[in-house]
Symmetry: C2
Protein backbone atom coordinates (compact mmCIF):
# COMPACT_ATOMS: atom_id res chain seq x y z
CA UNK A 1 0.00 0.00 0.00
CA UNK A 2 1.20 3.48 -0.84
CA UNK A 3 1.86 5.98 1.87
CA UNK A 4 -1.13 7.83 3.27
CA UNK A 5 0.83 11.07 3.18
CA UNK A 6 0.43 11.26 -0.59
CA UNK A 7 -3.11 9.92 -0.65
CA UNK A 8 -5.37 11.79 -3.05
CA UNK A 9 -8.00 12.21 -0.33
CA UNK A 10 -5.58 12.94 2.48
CA UNK A 11 -7.36 16.17 3.35
CA UNK A 12 -10.93 15.16 2.92
CA UNK A 13 -11.06 11.63 4.29
CA UNK A 14 -11.76 10.62 7.84
CA UNK A 15 -8.08 9.82 8.34
CA UNK A 16 -7.45 13.54 8.35
CA UNK A 17 -8.42 13.48 12.01
CA UNK A 18 -5.26 11.56 12.87
CA UNK A 19 -1.71 12.81 13.41
CA UNK A 20 0.97 11.35 11.14
CA UNK A 21 2.26 8.65 13.42
CA UNK A 22 -1.18 7.31 14.23
CA UNK A 23 -2.07 7.41 10.58
CA UNK A 24 0.87 5.14 9.82
CA UNK A 25 -0.43 2.69 12.39
CA UNK A 26 -3.91 2.65 10.87
CA UNK A 27 -2.59 2.41 7.35
CA UNK A 28 -0.89 -0.90 8.12
CA UNK A 29 -4.31 -2.49 8.50
CA UNK A 30 -5.68 -0.87 5.33
CA UNK A 31 -5.79 -2.21 1.83
CA UNK A 32 -6.44 -0.59 -1.53
CA UNK A 33 -8.94 -2.20 -3.86
CA UNK A 34 -10.12 -1.45 -7.35
CA UNK A 35 -13.73 -2.01 -8.34
CA UNK A 36 -15.14 -2.09 -11.86
CA UNK A 37 -18.35 -0.22 -12.56
CA UNK A 38 -21.23 -2.38 -11.41
CA UNK A 39 -19.24 -4.39 -8.91
CA UNK A 40 -20.71 -4.64 -5.42
CA UNK A 41 -18.44 -4.22 -2.41
CA UNK A 42 -20.98 -5.27 0.22
CA UNK A 43 -24.51 -6.60 0.20
CA UNK A 44 -27.50 -5.60 2.29
CA UNK A 45 -28.02 -7.98 5.19
CA UNK A 46 -24.48 -9.33 5.08
CA UNK A 47 -22.15 -9.32 8.02
CA UNK A 48 -20.44 -5.96 8.26
CA UNK A 49 -16.84 -7.03 7.65
CA UNK A 50 -15.47 -4.02 5.81
CA UNK A 51 -15.41 -0.26 6.12
CA UNK A 52 -13.33 2.17 4.16
CA UNK A 53 -12.74 5.36 2.25
CA UNK A 54 -13.58 6.20 -1.31
CA UNK A 55 -10.38 7.27 -3.05
CA UNK A 56 -11.65 7.71 -6.57
CA UNK A 57 -14.92 7.10 -8.40
CA UNK A 58 -18.57 7.07 -7.39
CA UNK A 59 -20.49 4.41 -5.48
CA UNK A 60 -24.13 4.06 -4.53
CA UNK A 61 -25.81 2.70 -1.42
CA UNK A 62 -28.99 0.81 -2.14
CA UNK A 63 -31.76 -1.32 -0.76
CA UNK A 64 -34.18 -3.67 -2.51
CA UNK A 65 -37.71 -4.72 -1.75
CA UNK A 66 -38.31 -8.50 -1.86
CA UNK A 67 -39.95 -8.16 -5.29
CA UNK A 68 -36.95 -6.42 -6.80
CA UNK A 69 -37.96 -2.77 -6.56
CA UNK A 70 -34.75 -0.90 -5.89
CA UNK A 71 -34.12 2.31 -4.02
CA UNK A 72 -30.80 4.11 -3.95
CA UNK A 73 -30.15 5.56 -0.50
CA UNK A 74 -27.14 7.70 -1.12
CA UNK A 75 -24.04 8.33 -3.18
CA UNK A 76 -20.44 8.12 -2.02
CA UNK A 77 -17.80 10.35 -3.60
CA UNK A 78 -14.04 10.51 -3.05
CA UNK A 79 -13.27 11.28 0.59
CA UNK A 80 -16.51 9.72 1.83
CA UNK A 81 -16.56 6.94 4.37
CA UNK A 82 -18.43 3.74 3.47
CA UNK A 83 -19.62 0.73 5.41
CA UNK A 84 -21.23 0.23 8.78
CA UNK A 85 -18.85 0.78 11.68
CA UNK A 86 -19.86 -0.45 15.14
CA UNK A 87 -22.59 -2.75 13.90
CA UNK A 88 -22.73 -6.39 12.98
CA UNK A 89 -24.71 -6.03 9.77
CA UNK A 90 -24.60 -3.86 6.73
CA UNK A 91 -28.17 -2.69 6.13
CA UNK A 92 -27.58 -1.69 2.53
CA UNK A 93 -25.52 -2.69 -0.47
CA UNK A 94 -22.59 -0.61 -1.70
CA UNK A 95 -21.97 -0.79 -5.43
CA UNK A 96 -19.51 0.93 -7.73
CA UNK A 97 -21.24 3.20 -10.24
CA UNK A 98 -18.03 4.05 -12.08
CA UNK A 99 -14.67 2.30 -11.89
CA UNK A 100 -13.60 2.97 -8.36
CA UNK A 101 -10.71 2.86 -5.95
CA UNK A 102 -11.33 2.32 -2.27
CA UNK A 103 -9.15 1.93 0.80
CA UNK A 104 -10.69 -0.68 3.08
CA UNK A 105 -10.19 -1.87 6.64
CA UNK A 106 -11.53 -4.88 8.44
CA UNK A 107 -14.35 -3.50 10.47
CA UNK A 108 -13.26 -5.18 13.69
CA UNK A 109 -9.84 -3.60 13.40
CA UNK A 110 -11.21 -0.21 12.46
CA UNK A 111 -13.69 -0.25 15.34
CA UNK A 112 -10.98 -1.13 17.80
CA UNK A 113 -8.70 1.56 16.46
CA UNK A 114 -11.44 4.18 16.49
CA UNK A 115 -12.38 3.45 20.10
CA UNK A 116 -8.81 4.13 21.08
CA UNK A 117 -8.58 7.37 19.11
CA UNK A 118 -11.44 9.63 19.93
CA UNK A 119 -10.46 12.22 17.32
CA UNK A 120 -11.12 9.61 14.64
CA UNK A 121 -14.36 8.64 16.29
CA UNK A 122 -15.37 12.25 16.55
CA UNK A 123 -14.75 12.76 12.86
CA UNK A 124 -16.91 9.74 12.09
CA UNK A 125 -19.64 11.16 14.30
CA UNK A 126 -19.57 14.49 12.50
CA UNK A 127 -19.77 12.74 9.15
CA UNK A 128 -22.62 10.55 10.28
CA UNK A 129 -24.59 13.51 11.61
CA UNK A 130 -24.15 15.40 8.34
CA UNK A 131 -25.14 12.35 6.34
CA UNK A 132 -28.25 12.01 8.46
CA UNK A 133 -29.15 15.63 7.70
CA UNK A 134 -28.64 15.01 4.00
CA UNK A 135 -30.63 11.78 3.97
CA UNK A 136 -33.52 13.50 5.71
CA UNK A 137 -33.56 16.22 3.09
CA UNK A 138 -33.77 13.44 0.50
CA UNK A 139 -36.80 12.03 2.34
CA UNK A 140 -38.74 15.22 1.69
CA UNK A 141 -38.08 14.68 -1.98
CA UNK A 142 -39.13 11.04 -2.00
CA UNK A 143 -42.22 11.68 0.06
CA UNK A 144 -43.53 14.93 -1.35
CA UNK A 145 -42.03 16.02 -4.65
CA UNK A 146 -43.32 15.53 -8.20
CA UNK A 147 -41.28 13.84 -10.91
CA UNK A 148 -40.25 17.16 -12.42
CA UNK A 149 -39.15 18.56 -9.07
CA UNK A 150 -37.10 15.45 -8.38
CA UNK A 151 -35.34 15.42 -11.72
CA UNK A 152 -34.57 19.15 -11.56
CA UNK A 153 -33.30 18.87 -8.00
CA UNK A 154 -31.12 15.97 -9.07
CA UNK A 155 -29.63 17.93 -11.96
CA UNK A 156 -28.90 20.89 -9.71
CA UNK A 157 -27.22 18.65 -7.20
CA UNK A 158 -25.12 16.94 -9.85
CA UNK A 159 -24.09 20.30 -11.23
CA UNK A 160 -22.92 21.73 -7.95
CA UNK A 161 -21.11 18.49 -7.25
CA UNK A 162 -19.41 18.16 -10.64
CA UNK A 163 -18.94 21.75 -11.88
CA UNK A 164 -16.64 23.94 -9.77
CA UNK A 165 -17.35 26.93 -12.03
CA UNK A 166 -21.05 26.65 -11.17
CA UNK A 167 -20.62 28.37 -7.82
CA UNK A 168 -19.11 31.39 -9.56
CA UNK A 169 -22.45 32.02 -11.19
CA UNK A 170 -21.47 30.73 -14.60
CA UNK A 171 -24.63 30.50 -16.70
CA UNK A 172 -23.94 27.61 -19.06
CA UNK A 173 -22.14 24.56 -17.72
CA UNK A 174 -21.66 21.02 -18.98
CA UNK A 175 -20.91 17.78 -17.20
CA UNK A 176 -20.96 14.03 -17.68
CA UNK A 177 -23.42 12.00 -15.63
CA UNK A 178 -21.88 9.09 -13.74
CA UNK A 179 -25.33 7.44 -13.73
CA UNK A 180 -27.41 5.71 -16.34
CA UNK A 181 -31.14 6.40 -16.57
CA UNK A 182 -32.09 3.39 -14.49
CA UNK A 183 -29.72 4.50 -11.74
CA UNK A 184 -31.24 7.97 -11.77
CA UNK A 185 -34.68 6.43 -11.52
CA UNK A 186 -33.64 4.31 -8.52
CA UNK A 187 -32.20 7.38 -6.87
CA UNK A 188 -35.33 9.47 -7.33
CA UNK A 189 -37.92 6.81 -6.67
CA UNK A 190 -39.24 6.96 -10.25
CA UNK A 191 -39.27 4.73 -13.32
CA UNK A 192 -36.79 5.01 -16.14
CA UNK A 193 -39.54 6.16 -18.52
CA UNK A 194 -40.62 8.98 -16.24
CA UNK A 195 -37.03 10.19 -15.87
CA UNK A 196 -36.61 10.12 -19.62
CA UNK A 197 -39.80 12.13 -20.14
CA UNK A 198 -38.75 14.83 -17.70
CA UNK A 199 -35.37 15.09 -19.42
CA UNK A 200 -37.09 15.48 -22.76
CA UNK A 201 -39.45 18.08 -21.36
CA UNK A 202 -36.58 20.14 -19.96
CA UNK A 203 -34.78 19.84 -23.29
CA UNK A 204 -37.78 20.98 -25.33
CA UNK A 205 -38.28 23.94 -22.99
CA UNK A 206 -34.66 24.94 -23.59
CA UNK A 207 -33.68 24.53 -19.95
CA UNK A 208 -31.07 21.88 -20.64
CA UNK A 209 -29.34 20.23 -23.57
CA UNK A 210 -28.41 16.55 -23.91
CA UNK A 211 -25.54 16.27 -26.44
CA UNK A 212 -25.27 12.57 -25.70
CA UNK A 213 -26.98 10.32 -23.20
CA UNK A 214 -24.36 10.79 -20.52
CA UNK A 215 -23.87 14.53 -20.97
CA UNK A 216 -25.94 17.41 -19.69
CA UNK A 217 -25.69 21.10 -20.50
CA UNK A 218 -27.46 23.54 -18.21
CA UNK A 219 -28.75 26.32 -20.45
CA UNK A 220 -31.14 28.15 -18.13
CA UNK A 221 -30.21 28.01 -14.50
CA UNK A 222 -33.15 30.05 -13.24
CA UNK A 223 -35.65 27.90 -15.07
CA UNK A 224 -34.09 24.76 -13.61
CA UNK A 225 -34.21 26.18 -10.11
CA UNK A 226 -37.82 27.18 -10.62
CA UNK A 227 -38.64 23.66 -11.80
CA UNK A 228 -36.94 22.20 -8.74
CA UNK A 229 -39.00 24.45 -6.49
CA UNK A 230 -42.21 23.39 -8.17
CA UNK A 231 -43.19 26.47 -10.22
Amino acid sequence: MQSCSQCAIRESAICNALPMEKLAELSRTGRQQTLRAGQTLMWEGDESLLVGNVIDGVLKLSLSAPDGRDQTLGIAYPGDFIGRAFGSKSRHSVTAVTDTQVCTFRRSEFDEFARKHSSLEHNLLERTLSELDRVRQWMLMLGRMTAMERVSTFLLEMTSRLCPEWEDGSETVQFKLPFGRQEIADLLGLTIETVSRQFTKLRLEGTIDIPDRRSIVIRDRDALEAAAAGD
Copy 2:
Protein backbone atom coordinates in the same frame (compact mmCIF):
# COMPACT_ATOMS: atom_id res chain seq x y z
CA MET B 1 -34.14 19.25 38.64
CA GLN B 2 -34.64 15.79 40.06
CA SER B 3 -31.78 13.42 40.40
CA CYS B 4 -30.72 11.49 37.32
CA SER B 5 -30.43 8.34 39.38
CA GLN B 6 -34.19 8.01 39.52
CA CYS B 7 -34.81 9.20 35.98
CA ALA B 8 -37.43 7.17 34.13
CA ILE B 9 -35.10 6.73 31.17
CA ARG B 10 -31.95 6.17 33.20
CA GLU B 11 -31.21 2.89 31.43
CA SER B 12 -32.18 3.76 27.89
CA ALA B 13 -30.96 7.33 27.46
CA ILE B 14 -27.60 8.43 26.22
CA CYS B 15 -26.61 9.40 29.77
CA ASN B 16 -26.38 5.71 30.53
CA ALA B 17 -22.89 5.84 29.03
CA LEU B 18 -21.67 7.92 31.96
CA PRO B 19 -20.60 6.84 35.46
CA MET B 20 -22.52 8.32 38.39
CA GLU B 21 -20.18 11.15 39.24
CA LYS B 22 -19.93 12.38 35.67
CA LEU B 23 -23.67 12.13 35.33
CA ALA B 24 -24.08 14.48 38.26
CA GLU B 25 -21.82 16.94 36.50
CA LEU B 26 -23.81 16.82 33.29
CA SER B 27 -27.13 16.98 35.09
CA ARG B 28 -26.25 20.37 36.56
CA THR B 29 -26.41 21.83 33.05
CA GLY B 30 -29.66 20.08 32.20
CA ARG B 31 -33.20 21.30 32.54
CA GLN B 32 -36.55 19.55 32.42
CA GLN B 33 -39.26 20.96 30.22
CA THR B 34 -42.85 20.06 29.57
CA LEU B 35 -44.37 20.44 26.12
CA ARG B 36 -48.03 20.33 25.24
CA ALA B 37 -49.11 18.31 22.22
CA GLY B 38 -48.45 20.39 19.11
CA GLN B 39 -45.78 22.56 20.67
CA THR B 40 -42.56 22.87 18.69
CA LEU B 41 -39.26 22.63 20.54
CA MET B 42 -37.06 23.67 17.63
CA TRP B 43 -37.61 24.86 14.07
CA GLU B 44 -35.94 23.82 10.84
CA GLY B 45 -33.25 26.28 9.84
CA ASP B 46 -32.91 27.73 13.31
CA GLU B 47 -29.67 27.93 15.20
CA SER B 48 -29.06 24.65 16.97
CA LEU B 49 -29.20 25.84 20.57
CA LEU B 50 -30.70 22.82 22.31
CA VAL B 51 -30.24 19.09 22.47
CA GLY B 52 -31.79 16.67 24.89
CA ASN B 53 -33.46 13.46 25.87
CA VAL B 54 -37.08 12.46 25.58
CA ILE B 55 -38.29 11.47 29.03
CA ASP B 56 -41.94 10.87 28.29
CA GLY B 57 -44.23 11.29 25.29
CA VAL B 58 -43.76 11.20 21.54
CA LEU B 59 -42.25 13.83 19.25
CA LYS B 60 -41.85 14.06 15.51
CA LEU B 61 -39.05 15.45 13.36
CA SER B 62 -40.28 17.19 10.25
CA LEU B 63 -39.38 19.26 7.23
CA SER B 64 -41.57 21.45 5.01
CA ALA B 65 -41.35 22.38 1.36
CA PRO B 66 -41.70 26.12 0.65
CA ASP B 67 -45.30 25.60 -0.47
CA GLY B 68 -46.30 23.92 2.76
CA ARG B 69 -46.06 20.27 1.87
CA ASP B 70 -44.88 18.55 5.02
CA GLN B 71 -42.81 15.41 5.49
CA THR B 72 -42.20 13.76 8.83
CA LEU B 73 -38.65 12.45 9.02
CA GLY B 74 -38.75 10.41 12.17
CA ILE B 75 -40.31 9.84 15.56
CA ALA B 76 -38.67 10.24 18.94
CA TYR B 77 -39.76 8.09 21.87
CA PRO B 78 -38.68 8.09 25.52
CA GLY B 79 -34.95 7.47 25.77
CA ASP B 80 -34.24 8.93 22.35
CA PHE B 81 -31.85 11.79 21.83
CA ILE B 82 -33.13 14.87 20.01
CA GLY B 83 -31.50 17.88 18.44
CA ARG B 84 -28.41 18.45 16.35
CA ALA B 85 -25.20 18.09 18.30
CA PHE B 86 -21.97 19.40 16.76
CA GLY B 87 -23.66 21.54 14.16
CA SER B 88 -24.72 25.14 14.02
CA LYS B 89 -28.17 24.59 12.54
CA SER B 90 -31.08 22.32 13.15
CA ARG B 91 -32.12 20.99 9.75
CA HIS B 92 -35.57 19.90 10.88
CA SER B 93 -38.26 20.87 13.31
CA VAL B 94 -38.99 18.89 16.46
CA THR B 95 -42.61 18.97 17.60
CA ALA B 96 -44.46 17.27 20.42
CA VAL B 97 -47.09 14.86 19.15
CA THR B 98 -48.43 14.09 22.62
CA ASP B 99 -47.83 15.98 25.85
CA THR B 100 -44.16 15.45 26.43
CA GLN B 101 -41.38 15.76 28.95
CA VAL B 102 -37.85 16.39 27.79
CA CYS B 103 -34.52 16.96 29.51
CA THR B 104 -32.58 19.58 27.57
CA PHE B 105 -29.05 20.93 27.51
CA ARG B 106 -27.57 23.94 25.83
CA ARG B 107 -25.91 22.53 22.77
CA SER B 108 -22.64 24.33 23.34
CA GLU B 109 -22.37 22.89 26.83
CA PHE B 110 -23.38 19.43 25.72
CA ASP B 111 -20.88 19.46 22.85
CA GLU B 112 -18.09 20.51 25.15
CA PHE B 113 -18.98 17.89 27.70
CA ALA B 114 -19.26 15.17 25.07
CA ARG B 115 -15.87 15.95 23.61
CA LYS B 116 -14.36 15.46 27.02
CA HIS B 117 -16.16 12.18 27.66
CA SER B 118 -15.67 9.83 24.78
CA SER B 119 -18.00 7.20 26.23
CA LEU B 120 -20.84 9.68 25.85
CA GLU B 121 -19.70 10.58 22.37
CA HIS B 122 -19.43 6.94 21.46
CA ASN B 123 -22.97 6.33 22.63
CA LEU B 124 -24.17 9.23 20.50
CA LEU B 125 -22.30 7.77 17.53
CA GLU B 126 -23.95 4.39 17.96
CA ARG B 127 -27.36 6.01 18.20
CA THR B 128 -26.73 8.11 15.12
CA LEU B 129 -25.57 5.14 13.08
CA SER B 130 -28.68 3.17 14.06
CA GLU B 131 -30.90 6.10 13.27
CA LEU B 132 -29.27 6.40 9.86
CA ASP B 133 -29.99 2.72 9.20
CA ARG B 134 -33.59 3.24 10.22
CA VAL B 135 -34.04 6.37 8.14
CA ARG B 136 -32.66 4.62 5.08
CA GLN B 137 -35.14 1.80 5.51
CA TRP B 138 -37.85 4.47 5.57
CA MET B 139 -36.52 5.82 2.27
CA LEU B 140 -37.30 2.54 0.55
CA MET B 141 -40.85 2.96 1.72
CA LEU B 142 -41.19 6.56 0.56
CA GLY B 143 -39.58 5.86 -2.78
CA ARG B 144 -41.02 2.52 -3.76
CA MET B 145 -44.04 1.39 -1.76
CA THR B 146 -47.74 1.68 -2.53
CA ALA B 147 -50.20 3.37 -0.16
CA MET B 148 -51.41 0.03 1.19
CA GLU B 149 -47.87 -1.19 1.84
CA ARG B 150 -47.02 2.04 3.64
CA VAL B 151 -50.06 2.02 5.87
CA SER B 152 -49.65 -1.67 6.74
CA THR B 153 -45.95 -1.21 7.47
CA PHE B 154 -46.82 1.73 9.68
CA LEU B 155 -49.38 -0.25 11.65
CA LEU B 156 -46.93 -3.10 12.16
CA GLU B 157 -44.28 -0.71 13.38
CA MET B 158 -46.67 1.01 15.77
CA THR B 159 -47.77 -2.35 17.11
CA SER B 160 -44.30 -3.61 17.85
CA ARG B 161 -43.46 -0.28 19.43
CA LEU B 162 -46.58 0.01 21.58
CA CYS B 163 -47.59 -3.58 22.36
CA PRO B 164 -45.13 -5.59 24.45
CA GLU B 165 -47.31 -8.69 24.16
CA TRP B 166 -47.04 -8.55 20.37
CA GLU B 167 -43.58 -10.14 20.38
CA ASP B 168 -44.96 -13.16 22.24
CA GLY B 169 -47.02 -13.98 19.20
CA SER B 170 -50.30 -12.76 20.61
CA GLU B 171 -52.84 -12.76 17.81
CA THR B 172 -55.19 -9.90 18.70
CA VAL B 173 -53.73 -6.73 20.16
CA GLN B 174 -55.05 -3.23 20.67
CA PHE B 175 -53.33 0.11 21.03
CA LYS B 176 -53.95 3.83 20.91
CA LEU B 177 -52.36 5.81 18.10
CA PRO B 178 -50.38 8.84 19.24
CA PHE B 179 -50.95 10.35 15.77
CA GLY B 180 -53.89 11.88 14.03
CA ARG B 181 -54.61 11.05 10.38
CA GLN B 182 -52.80 14.09 9.04
CA GLU B 183 -49.71 13.15 11.02
CA ILE B 184 -49.82 9.63 9.67
CA ALA B 185 -50.13 11.02 6.16
CA ASP B 186 -47.10 13.29 6.69
CA LEU B 187 -45.15 10.34 7.98
CA LEU B 188 -45.97 8.10 5.04
CA GLY B 189 -45.79 10.66 2.26
CA LEU B 190 -49.53 10.34 1.50
CA THR B 191 -52.66 12.46 1.86
CA ILE B 192 -55.08 12.21 4.71
CA GLU B 193 -57.77 10.85 2.39
CA THR B 194 -55.57 8.07 1.10
CA VAL B 195 -54.62 7.02 4.63
CA SER B 196 -58.28 6.99 5.60
CA ARG B 197 -59.18 4.85 2.59
CA GLN B 198 -56.50 2.27 3.36
CA PHE B 199 -57.69 2.08 6.97
CA THR B 200 -61.22 1.51 5.79
CA LYS B 201 -60.09 -1.14 3.32
CA LEU B 202 -58.20 -3.04 6.03
CA ARG B 203 -61.25 -2.77 8.29
CA LEU B 204 -63.64 -4.11 5.66
CA GLU B 205 -61.28 -6.99 4.94
CA GLY B 206 -61.31 -7.86 8.64
CA THR B 207 -57.59 -7.30 9.07
CA ILE B 208 -58.01 -4.57 11.65
CA ASP B 209 -60.71 -2.92 13.71
CA ILE B 210 -61.08 0.77 14.56
CA PRO B 211 -63.17 1.08 17.75
CA ASP B 212 -62.53 4.81 17.77
CA ARG B 213 -60.40 7.07 15.61
CA ARG B 214 -57.35 6.81 17.83
CA SER B 215 -57.60 3.09 18.53
CA ILE B 216 -56.51 0.16 16.42
CA VAL B 217 -57.12 -3.54 16.91
CA ILE B 218 -55.03 -5.97 14.92
CA ARG B 219 -57.31 -8.88 14.07
CA ASP B 220 -55.29 -10.73 11.45
CA ARG B 221 -51.57 -10.42 11.84
CA ASP B 222 -50.66 -12.56 8.83
CA ALA B 223 -52.92 -10.57 6.53
CA LEU B 224 -51.38 -7.32 7.75
CA GLU B 225 -47.87 -8.62 7.17
CA ALA B 226 -48.86 -9.79 3.71
CA ALA B 227 -50.29 -6.36 2.93
CA ALA B 228 -47.08 -4.71 4.12
CA ALA B 229 -45.06 -6.99 1.84
CA GLY B 230 -47.25 -6.12 -1.11
CA ASP B 231 -49.27 -9.29 -1.68
